[in-house]
Amino acid sequence: MEHKRLTLFAGHYGSGKTNIAVNYALKLAAEGKQVCIADLDIVNPYFRTKDSAAVLEAAGVHLISPQFANSNVDLPALPAEAYRLVTDKSIYGIMDIGGDDRGAYALGRYVPSILEEGNYRMIFVANASRPLTRTPEDALEVMYEIEAACGLKFTDLINNTNLGDLTTPETVLGAAEYMEKLSSLSGLPIFATTARADVAAALDIPDVLPLTLQEKYFDLPSQKPGNRPLWG
């Protein structure tokens, strides 16, 4: 994997951007790079980069997070420090962009600097199991909306197709055709396939990035789909 100085993760909300951004930051740090990750999510009230603050700190990754993240202040405000990612060219910067076009508006203010430097990768994270991106055409629509909102074009795709706890290697591989179609529709290469570490281990394909998932508040007993009792 060749790394650009700036890596941006965007996509439909719930596509897995935050988990991938955190894992990618940890991977760069493990390769000995000085890494800074910025949480630019102005949309999502829960489940944020900040939930992984301890893990990131332990790995030496600097976290820039909105002042009010994980509090009751529902303000779409970004920290001034986030500018460091585009101005300090000695670091590897990772940006976790909020969901959909609404979240991508926040990125717009950094775009002139990103384009000027020209050393970035903007990755569209796709999950074919999400209801509003069930077809490559639906995903392409979301891609265009995000590009229009932030003024920056995607350069790569990631296949993060998963069904939560029920993900199997077949879930991931089953999206191959979907990803090829999205790749040909958008003209963009597939940068990587991401999956929970145990699933990733069973995947015999190139460019797999195994994920350690963000810790949950508490373990919720697993859910059986369908019209059955919750724990029958």
Binding site: P45, R130, G164, W231
Partner: protein, 352 residues
Amino acid sequence: MAELVLMKGNEAIAEAAIRAGCRHYFGYPITPQTEIAAYMAKKMPKIGGVFLQAESEVASINMVYGAAATGCRVMTSSSSPGISLKAEGLSYIAGSDVPALVVNVQRGGPGLGGIQPSQSDYFQATKGGGHGDYRMIVLAPASVQEMASLTIKGFNLADKYRMTSMILADGTIGQMMEPISFEDAEIEKYEKPWALTGHENKRKHNIVNSLYLQPDALEKTNFERYERYKVVEENEPMWEEYMMEDAEICVVAFGIASRVAKNAVVAARAEGIKVGLIRPITLWPFPTKALRAAAVKCKAFVSVELNMGQMIEDVRLATECKRPVTLCNRAGGMIPSPDQVLESIRAAQKGE
């Protein structure tokens, strides 16, 4: 294997509503339920439905009232402070006996409160909220799958009894993601001879109204309405039991609290404590019979809630205060840990 999709709880509600035949959504955004409106905004125009962001919660609930009077399946969604604003409309809808679905993805209160998950609108949902004598069918999902299946059930029950069904969820279930399927969805259809669909000079015109000029006529309507509520109380309570067969301690919890409580029950069983769990799925009608039966064999009850103790009153009523009921709670957007629930179970076992 059925086709699975990975959904947020809020999205599951929206998709289920569309599958149940809802083509009219009126709302106003508020965290943590905004994904419902966002999903509807995206989907409704593609399927010939109406998504309308009203100028306020008050406007949106009155649009629901109007659409419901025509007999179509209609819904709105909000979170705690927004539901308070809708309270007048909820009372009018009940007073006019039209069916509607209202979603409350609760956040911490009172007042503007916060945006983190809560169950502190239990009283508001089950005891009224608006003015006058009325009831709503209150459904409490504990998983993303149930966000979908209880939404469909809610539309069915609303049509069947000409009532409002409320989905009483919380921010956690609204925001979390789980794989679900829609294969078992059962969409029921009911005749609506009372609906305002245009009489075309072929029948007497229908009237939907909650104003009565004669008090005796209003009283009669109230009595008749409560006869209908009695049928609901008799036929529609839903609950789930876990390890209750030999239980001496009974934990009662709904929604996300029940998922936490289940972990604690498993941990307590490992310590040899005979404990079980009753999870009300309908909060009104409350599963009174299940609680009353448990009071015969259990020596103590623990009510686990994300509020200052609201359902605990219904637990005491249902068990007719025969056994001690203790409260295990967090409030203001916090969630009890399994360890906190386990500690409460241990205390109940010791008779504390």
